[in-house]
């Protein structure tokens, strides 16, 4: 199975966009090597600005650039793109509905060894509460590219969360459409809905479940805001039991988004796999996925537990 860095694809996609559209401006805050905006910088040095370790200034400056018709891509780690500069994102970017695309890398627990201070597990929660902004958590590198292109084509602010690690490319999936989720595997006993890195884990969990004679419908919902209400309601009618999996705190992320839809549209049981109100810590990404109960085994176990009840 092919494994790629979504951030590599991001850097290359920026260059593609930069070649065809002069309005593209890229900003970074001293992490251009890691976020791969340096690839754009090398091609278009006049349309790239490194603002040093100063994310608040970067976000508000992005707003000023966008007010003059620029399409601004802003990158840093998810931790700093969200919490550090949240007021600037809310008041300068989102309130004005500016064409600023925040493409954050190093989201989630799989940041690994750097530990809790760098593991953004609340970012989706922060942005979900803000009007105008759209949120995408792609499951692999090709979906990341499609998400970046959708953000480019769609006016207004976006938050796209990419990870640090190489991720396996999910084969035979539908192409990305903004605001739409899609079914990866059809089953009958339970629906497992996820986004980002946990889509692969959900598919692996389904393999384990199949061995035990259980079949799950596996759904990918890359767009978290606006969430695909129709699909979620449809899935909830077919499956009375739903398990939502995400590399994020269980408050305010995908689980919350889905529970909010179903609470009013079709109340069914919704369970969760996520980080349970805890900070992360140092460790390898694989170790951390296990420690916080996010990997395939835990998803399979949880699904079985729900089905037993």
């Amino acid at each position: 199975m092919e494994k790629l860095y979504a951030r590599d694809i991001y850097g290359n996609t920026l260059v593609e966009l930069g070649k065809k559209d002069e309005r593209i401006i890229v900003l970074d805050a001293d992490l251009s090597g890691s976020t791969r905006t340096a690839i754009f910088k090398n091609e278009f040095p006049d349309r790239f600005f490194n603002f040093g370790v100063a994310e608040q200034n970067m976000m508000a400056t992005a707003g000023g650039l966008a007010s003059c018709g620029k399409i601004v891509f802003v990158s840093t780690f998810a931790m700093f793109a969200s919490a550090r500069a949240l007021d600037q994102v809310r008041n300068t970017i989102c309130y004005n509905n500016f064409n600023v695309k925040i493409i954050a890398t190093h989201g989630g627990i799989t940041v690994g060894e750097d530990g809790a201070s760098h593991q953004a597990l609340e970012d989706i929660n922060f942005f979900r509460a803000i009007p105008n902004i759209k949120i995408i958590v792609p499951c692999d590198a090709p979906e990341a590219k499609a998400a970046v292109l959708a953000a480019y084509k769609t006016p207004g602010p976006f938050y796209i969360r990419l990870g640090r690690c190489k991720v396996p490319t999910i084969e035979n999936k539908q192409s990305f459409t903004l605001g739409r989720g899609y079914v990866l595997e059809e089953g009958k006993d339970i629906a497992i809905i996820s986004c980002g890195t946990l889509v692969y884990e959900a598919l692996e969990a389904n393999k384990i479940l199949k061995e035990k004679g259980i079949s799950a419908t596996v759904v990918n919902t890359p767009t978290i805001k606006p969430i695909d209400e129709d699909l979620i309601v449809k899935i909830s009618i077919k499956h009375k039991k739903i398990l939502v999996c995400e590399e994020h705190q269980v408050t305010g992320g995908l689980f919350s988004a889905i529970a909010e839809v179903l609470a009013s549209k079709n109340p069914v049981r919704v369970e969760r796999i996520g980080v349970e109100d805890k900070f992360g810590q140092s460790g390898s990404p694989v170790e951390l996925m296990d420690f916080y109960g996010l990997s395939a085994n835990f998803i399979a176990q949880k699904a079985q537990e729900i089905l037993r009840q």
Binding site: I25, D46, R47, F49, F51, G52, A54, Q56, N57, M58, M59, A60, T61, A62, G63, G64, L65, A66, S67, C68, G69, K70, D87, Q88, R90, N91, T92, Y95, N96
Partner: protein
């Protein structure tokens, strides 16, 4: 020149009267820092800036960003006097559905970017200035900050970046009226030595009496000649300027005048105008 000065003084006075009227009608808002900024805004909108109220999106316009957004009554008055929207709109300030929000909002013709959460405006202005530079557009960008506001760290991030990128089409103005909500700036959180701070951040600093239009015009003219660095005008002002019982009174940072106070204030401002016109 004399005619120009007279006009700007008269516009400043009109702005002040409108500030008092609209805040009294709104029954809330920030008179102190609006009054202190009247000459700065009058000079920009009636002399310095290239702009067209009939074509607010004109690409060649100079840009103004009110980083100290709570002082928007002064800006709204200037925009209305320039014809961006009818003067009657001013009396709807802060009311539900109004074109004129309690802090600047893009729904108002002539407002480029919303503001109100302090400390972000210099970055916004920096972004505008960079965009103009990239587009080889010789527009200039002006950003009015409060003295209390520059206690925000974001201002100094922007100051560092603007100097780093040698953004010489950017002009900051600090309305140095020496008061913030909780009291005297010097007592709450000293921003001194202010000139040294901006200079050490790589800015060209000009000090001016913020109520003397001749001095202000000279300062603005000077900023246009400064190359390879941004400029900042430290405008020494009086909080509540023009209304005797509001001058240097911290209470009027964020309290609207009562009906009675409005009458007295308008009378005082009218007297100033009459004195000036007979000169």
């Amino acid at each position: 020149m004399e005619k120009k000065i007279k006009l700007l003084k008269s516009k400043s006075n009109s702005i002040r009267k409108l500030i008092i009227e609209m805040l009294s009608e709104a029954k809330s808002g920030h008179p102190g820092g609006s009054l202190s900024a009247a000459e700065i805004i009058a000079c920009l909108y009636f002399e310095i800036m290239r702009h067209d109220s009939k074509n607010p999106d004109w690409s060649q316009r100079d840009r103004f960003h009110l980083s100290k957004g709570h002082c928007c009554p002064a800006l709204y008055a200037a925009l209305a006097l320039c014809g961006y929207f009818p003067l009657e709109e001013l009396m709807k300030l802060r009311k539900l559905g109004s074109l004129l929000q309690g802090h600047p909002d893009k729904r108002t013709p002539g407002i480029e970017v919303a503001s109100g959460s302090l400390g972000q405006g210099l970055s916004v202005a920096l972004g505008m200035a960079l965009a103009c530079r990239i587009d080889k557009n010789d527009s200039r960008v002006y950003c009015l900050m409060g003295d209390g506001e520059i206690q925000e760290g974001n201002i100094w991030e922007a100051a560092m970046a603007a100097a780093h990128y040698k953004v010489d089409n950017l002009c900051g103005i600090v309305d140095y009226n020496r008061f913030q909500i909780d009291g005297r700036t010097e007592e709450i959180m000293s921003i001194e030595p202010l000139v040294n701070k901006w200079e050490s951040f790589g800015w060209h600093v000009i000090q001016s009496d913020g109520h003397n239009v001749e001095e202000l015009l000279e300062a603005f003219a000077k900023t246009k000649t400064v190359k390879s660095k941004p400029s900042v005008i430290i405008a020494h002002t009086v909080k509540g300027k023009g209304v005797s019982f509001m001058e240097h009174v911290v209470d009027f940072h964020g309290r609207a005048p009562s009906d009675k106070e409005k009458e007295v204030a308008l009378k005082e401002l009218q007297d100033i105008e009459d004195d000036e016109s007979t000169l």
